[in-house]
Amino acid sequence: MIAGNFELVARVVKARSGLVLTPDKLYMLETRLAPLLRREGLPTLDALAARLRDAPSGPLAEAVTEALTTNETSFFRDGAPFEHLRGLLPALAAARPPGAVLRVWSAACSTGQEAYSVAMIAEELGPELAGRKVEILGTDIAQEVLARAREGLFTQFEVQRGLSIQRLVRHFRQEAGRWRVAPELRAMARFLRWNLLDDLRPLGRFDVIFCRNVLIYLDPPTKARVLAAVAERLADDGVLYLGGAETVLGLTDRLVPVSGARGAYALPRVAALAV
């Protein structure tokens, strides 16, 4: 690539998504953008850069950004947050009036495994939720993964990561060698394209937020900004789960760790502030 063109692509991607591309990611640019180059009939990355220079915010910039997202995920990823959620949901249900809906947000949901893991837990809790319904919203910046999440159709490989065989037969239906999430679970989940850098207020408030393995790709100022905006979407007694390599330390004081639960954060209690 001609000097300056990598930086141009990186600037466009960062402006759209917050994702940071360091120069050592040149190989990633080459492999992940190859299909896009073919589709657009562009001979080289430099030709793509030239097009981006003229239209840094059009559909092409969007497609480039999407192609450079990392979408790796799995059911019940890391285990612990979901174990914690199993205890948390009944407590939240008990704290809400009858008929209340518990809202859960999977804030960078990729292909939907996180959202459906939450749905499985809600379904398994059944009567422990005392009739409170659980509504799950999955959002992501990338359209392709969202389309897959909505389908709820997973490969044999995907359903063997993080799922016990008992959960597989309970919550999925087999379809020609693939596995579709059961209709009851799909009915709990909705998927919406949303950029975490955009105004998050239209999404409303959530009792539980999963914002996992997305902050790691952002630079510290963007992390801080996204965390603050996400914290604002959290109910007073809600819990936010971050990924295993993520923390709020040094980024925001609007969130405090939940003691004894790694990766779980809550709003500081009003009472604690009043001391």
Binding site: D78, G79, Q160, L163, I165, G244
Partner: protein
């Protein structure tokens, strides 16, 4: 002094393919299991009678005695919990999975599998602690 590798107990690998047995052996030994091999259900049953392993990684379709026949015989003889049986087979039809679970299998790996899937399933079966991710 080299610290002895803590053992997770014995896993019996039952498969009529030597290639699969060797691949599974390598993965299981990496995790700290002692590995024994059997080429069919009858050999596996004999091995269990000699010394009951902690876990059995069990193929379905094998000559002499197939995996399900072994599983039923083992459950009748040794009870519902031990050894922990993880099916590992190209049979991936839901009806087959349900059949194996009804016969007393604890986990089920659909071939082809890789190291990550096997590790994950061993965790699900309670045979491996969940690692720090």
């Amino acid at each position: 002094m080299a610290a002895p590798q803590p053992s997770l107990g014995t896993c019996l690998v039952v498969d009529d393919s030597g290639v699969v047995r060797r691949a599974a052996r390598r993965m299981l030994e990496n995790h700290g299991f002692l590995v024994q091999e059997a080429a069919n259900g009858a050999e596996a049953l004999a091995a269990c009678r000699a010394s009951l392993p902690r876990a059995v990684l069990l193929d379905w379709n094998m000559p002499v005695m197939d995996g399900l026949a072994f599983l039923r015989a083992a459950r009748a003889e040794f009870g519902p919990d031990r050894p922990v049986v993880v099916l590992c087979t190209t049979e991936s039809d839901l009806s087959r999975i349900l059949e194996a679970l009804a016969a007393g299998a604890q986990e089920y790996v659909m071939k082809p599998f890789d190291e990550a899937i096997l590790r994950d399933k061993l965790v699900q079966a309670g045979l491996l602690p969940r690692g720090e991710e």
